[in-house]
Assembly symmetry: C2
Homo-oligomer: 207 residues x 2
DNA sequence: GTTGGAATTGAACGAGCGTTCGAAAGACCG
DNA sequence: CGGTCTTTCGAACGCTCGTTCAATTCCAAC
């Protein structure tokens, strides 16, 4: 069943498609554009993918799965709510910054899927959101009641993080670590009134 | 030159178009969809608008102009940086919440314009962003150095605000005032370490 | 060198797209 | 009523779209 050669070609197809989707948008991009960008013939694309929508779906699912897997790894064994939040944010932004095209497609083309494909991705989003909401609950338990509605806080944080494809340049002078720390500080300071000192934030989410 | 009857019809065309664009996306929507939604014939649409792109442009420009005008009004005569920030945020979110469809189109279809039309809208965005950046500078002057990069802070705030079309329900149990106060508190607490008490936030941005 | 499945393709299909245009209908004034 | 300017529209044009399919090429196994 497994076919490594085919999987590898599918991978390059998906990543070159993500690049074109990110640049011109999903609906603006034609299958002919994707064929040209990936070096396959138009009909050849359909050997690897059932439809244009499945192509978008595979991009979204693969990358979201990677984000979630990284998040689980980053949170494993960590109990301090502040550090858990930091690791959640850092994992999200780190993956975002190193996969800008794919994540722009995931963030911006959320509404382009339909039916079961949309359902599956939305389920992953619900699972992911739930983890953040739980961290917020832990934060409140350890640092007193929050200054604002938990759901509003969670989506505000997602807003900060998911908006970065509109302005952030991974090659610019703001590194990912600075970005993560900034967003964390912004959020923690306002959410539970925590002035976050440099030292309390880990240098990296690894480990 | 001025033709009130024509302007009014154009208005209803723009707002019904915004509704359809917001629901299905700009590129997904056909001119036939717009004709059907506005009750005009397909050819009739072109009597009011030069092209589909100009239609999008007019929606974006009109509403952005309204946001900027409201912001100028809200800031006029106010010197306290904290209150200026609150009014900036409140104006933005209030307009957003009362014009969800139009603002979703403005936020989500930013990249669909090209050439001069794109340029004009981008110029307005630059002007708008500059006002926020200036408020942040005032904040730093009066409340000590910020805890993070000013540009990162500004775009994080825009992220919180512009992301709301992805989750916020104006008819739900979270009112606009609560939303504005939440976002302000989140931002101010993290940006300059300001714990914002209830009383220091105005009840409304009017006046 | 033949076989057989995997991989690839050129060419075509039907549908829908944005836009145009000449003509019809309506509104206002003499 | 007749004339003129604004508004509306049915019908069509040329084009691009996502998708299909029969035919071909590739390549490892015998």
């Amino acid at each position: 069943m497994a076919n490594p050669m085919r999987d590898q070609k599918l991978d390059t197809l998906l990543s070159s498609a993500a690049r074109v989707f990110a640049q011109h948008g999903y609906h603006q991009t034609s299958m002919r554009d994707l064929a040209r960008a990936s070096g396959i013939s138009l009909a050849g694309v359909y050997y690897y993918v059932r439809s244009k929508e499945e192509l978008l779906y595979l991009i979204q699912r693969r990358n979201f799965e990677a984000v979630i897997a990284g998040m689980r790894r980053a949170l494993a064994g960590v109990t301090n709510p502040v550090e858990r939040l930091y690791r959640f944010v850092d994992n999200h932004l780190d993956y975002f910054a190193t996969h800008m095209a794919e994540m722009k497609v995931l963030s911006h083309e959320a509404g382009a899927l339909t039916g079961d494909l949309l359902q599956t991705v939305n389920d992953m989003k619900r699972e992911y959101t739930r983890v953040l909401m739980d961290i917020l609950a832990e934060l409140e338990a350890s640092h007193g009641p929050a200054h604002l509605n938990r759901r509003v806080a969670a989506y505000s944080l997602f807003g900060m993080m998911n908006w970065i494809y509109n302005w952030y340049d991974p090659l610019g002078d703001v590194g990912v670590e600075l970005l993560s720390q900034s967003v964390c500080r912004l959020f923690l300071g306002g959410y539970v009134g925590l002035p976050v000192p440099e030292s309390s934030l880990p240098q990296s989410a690894a480990g």
